[in-house]
């Protein structure tokens, strides 16, 4: 493109376009910054403040102390971590088992099972039949109701299968000659060679578990089992603010209500922000894998 001489109009375009991109980036990020600044502000200062926040007003960790001292939120954190860890482990094991089976060439029943799996991407029972199933299985009000029904995402399994199929079969054959069985081949040959794909899929599963609230909302009854997102919903959106400011004096409690809400939002988001750079590195690849046609 060296032979193309830039015209003055191109510079104008480049500058305006660049400015617009900066504007869009700011628009997407600023709400999170506002929440961060508000959560670090002195509650009394914050409610009398009008307008945008560019930094915390009188930096204080008061609101975070209230969040950390709230037993409900700590319990919610524990529940969420359990769901994320156990859920993701089950996801990865089940998904890689299915992907391994479906990537084999020989088995007679492979195609019928593949068809059976693919159908579920197009038709589903929906809300009520799924709910009745959980009732019938006796999983109502159990954390397993949030884990087991989403053990496998068909979409992820097909992506993983495609990755497994890309591994040269000569590697597998030589392992088999050395006496390896299917388990050894999967764990010693296939998985080490598709680490990147499995990492992306595991991260997507983990983010899904961390962020989900709806299943918890319909399947859980006992408050001590609620995951963080559901507690957040109750506090921030259904405005059960009085539960948030347990242990804070009545006079402060109104003002604290606002900043503590923002601090709770931050606390529920920080882990995502921490893993974001790692997912970020892979996700374009992940999305592209997904868009490949079977």
């Amino acid at each position: 493109m060296n032979f193309y001489r830039k015209k003055p109009g191109d510079y104008v375009f480049t500058i305006i376009n660049g400015a617009f991109m900066v504007f869009l980036a700011l628009i997407t990020t600023y709400p999170f910054l506002y929440v961060l600044f508000a959560s670090l502000s002195e509650p009394g200062k914050f409610i009398t403040h009008n307008g945008l926040l560019l930094y915390p007003l009188e930096f204080t960790l008061k609101s975070y102390k209230a969040v950390v001292n709230n037993p409900n939120i700590l319990q919610g954190y524990k529940n969420t971590i359990f769901i994320v860890v156990v859920g993701t482990v089950i996801n990865v094991i089940m998904t890689s088992m299915g992907a391994y089976f479906l990537s084999r060439k020989g088995p007679l029943w492979k195609t019928p099972i593949m068809i059976m799996v693919t159908i579920t991407m197009f038709v589903e029972g929906g809300l009520i039949p799924g709910y009745l199933l959980i009732l019938n299985l006796g999983l109502y009000d159990s954390l397993w109701a949030l884990i087991l029904p989403s053990s496998i995402s068909t979409f992820n399994m097909i992506i993983m299968r495609t990755a497994f199929q890309g591994i040269p079969s000569s590697l597998e054959e030589s392992a088999r000659i050395d006496g390896a069985n299917d388990f050894t081949i999967l764990y010693k040959v296939i998985i080490p060679l598709s680490r990147a794909t499995i990492a992306v899929i595991a991260l997507f599963y983990a983010v899904y578990h961390w962020n989900s609230w709806f299943a918890a909302n319909i399947y859980l009854k006992t408050k001590s089992k609620f995951p963080l997102q559901l507690i957040l919903r109750n506090f921030v959106i259904n405005s059960q603010a009085e539960e948030l400011t347990i242990g804070v004096g009545v006079a402060d409690s109104y003002a604290m209500g606002f900043t503590v809400k923002y601090a709770t939002i931050m606390v529920a988001t920080i882990p995502i922000l921490i893993v974001y750079p790692f997912i970020q590195r892979y996700f374009v690849k992940g999305v592209m894998m997904g868009s490949l046609k079977e």
Partner: protein, 315 residues
């Protein structure tokens, strides 16, 4: 010809073949396929079987099989419901507004971002604009609820421009702009990935030729870039049409209230309220089926239309 007959023979499920296949792949079936098949049967196929309650007078105590068939009564009830019209209109309105404003947004963003030549700057803009995709719906709605409150940031901005403060989510007139606007805000970055990758596949030689011919930036966009990514746009459009009647319930459930039902109550939220809050299981399932059938019809129609008009289709 000979090998061909052999092949068809191989694919036939004869008893001896099944036995041989079982001997060879026993462990593969038992330890790899079986758990996965059980998962799909229990969590995907049993709910499909459960859909029959839409045609039954379902009683929890009698179970799915034991309840009596009543034909299409639940469907007839839904069509006769006073809220039927409102639900359909609200669902289509939210969908169409999302399509009108939300569909072009990632395309325009991708086209403009594609014109940025500075690599690091481009990467940074991408990283920042993709972020909302990973933030939970509850957090995004939590922020929206706080910003929309009468003390919130949105009201501060409204007041700055001479408006009066109000709790925005309590007003029907403000619900749709907040809902649609925040969807676009959260989705335009992530949605652009597909288009950006399509853009990177556009033939570079055509650009070079256009430079020599003295084409302007907009001529290049009009005659090279847009046609290059058209198949991607069409496929995405068909998929959107296929989902025209399915507005997800999660975000609306977090943002709406009885005060805004007149614009915000859609089929999926109605299914949730009738089914889980009022425990009207069978009726609610019928509404869900009605919704899915319309979606399938829309998808097939859009796909066939597109096949005829510009030869791009999903199947």
């Amino acid at each position: 010809m000979k090998s061909r007959t052999k092949k068809t023979k191989e694919k036939k499920f004869s008893l001896s073949l099944i036995k041989k296949d079982w001997r060879k792949y026993k462990y593969l079936y038992l330890f790899f396929a079986l758990p996965v098949v059980i998962y799909f049967v229990v969590f995907k196929y049993v709910p499909l079987y459960g859909l029959q309650i839409a045609f039954k007078d379902f009683k929890l105590s009698r179970g799915i099989w034991g309840s009596e068939w009543i034909g299409l009564k639940h469907f007839v009830n839904f069509f006769g419901n006073i809220h039927f019209g409102r639900l359909i209109i609200n669902t289509i309105r939210i969908s169409l507004l999302g399509l009108l404003f939300g569909f072009p947004a990632p395309i325009i963003f991708a086209l403009l971002l594609n014109e940025v030549s500075h690599k690091t700057f481009k990467k940074s803009v991408q990283t920042l604009t993709y972020l909302p995709h990973f933030i939970s719906t509850v957090v995004i709605c939590g922020i929206l609820v706080n910003f929309s409150g009468s003390e919130g940031l949105f009201n501060t901005i409204i007041e700055f421009f001479g408006g009066t403060r109000a709790d925005l989510l309590m007003k029907s007139s403000a619900f749709l702009p907040i809902f649609i606007g925040s969807n676009i805000w959260a989705g335009f970055g992530w949605g652009s990935i597909l288009y950006l990758s399509a853009l990177s596949n556009v033939d570079q030689e055509q650009y070079e030729a256009s430079f020599i011919d003295g084409a302007s930036r907009f001529q290049r966009m009009r005659y090279i870039t847009l046609p290059g990514i058209m198949p991607t746009i069409v496929i995405q459009f068909i998929l959107r049409i296929g989902n025209l009647m399915s507005v997800g319930s999660e975000k609306i459930l977090l943002l709406y209230s009885p005060l805004t039902y007149d614009v915000a109550d859609v089929i999926s939220t109605y299914v949730y309220r009738k089914g889980l809050l009022d425990q009207n299981y069978a009726y609610s399932t019928a509404v869900g089926i009605f919704n899915s059938v319309i979606n399938i019809i829309l998808l097939v129609t859009a796909n066939n239309l597109s096949k005829r008009v510009n030869e791009t289709s999903l199947w």
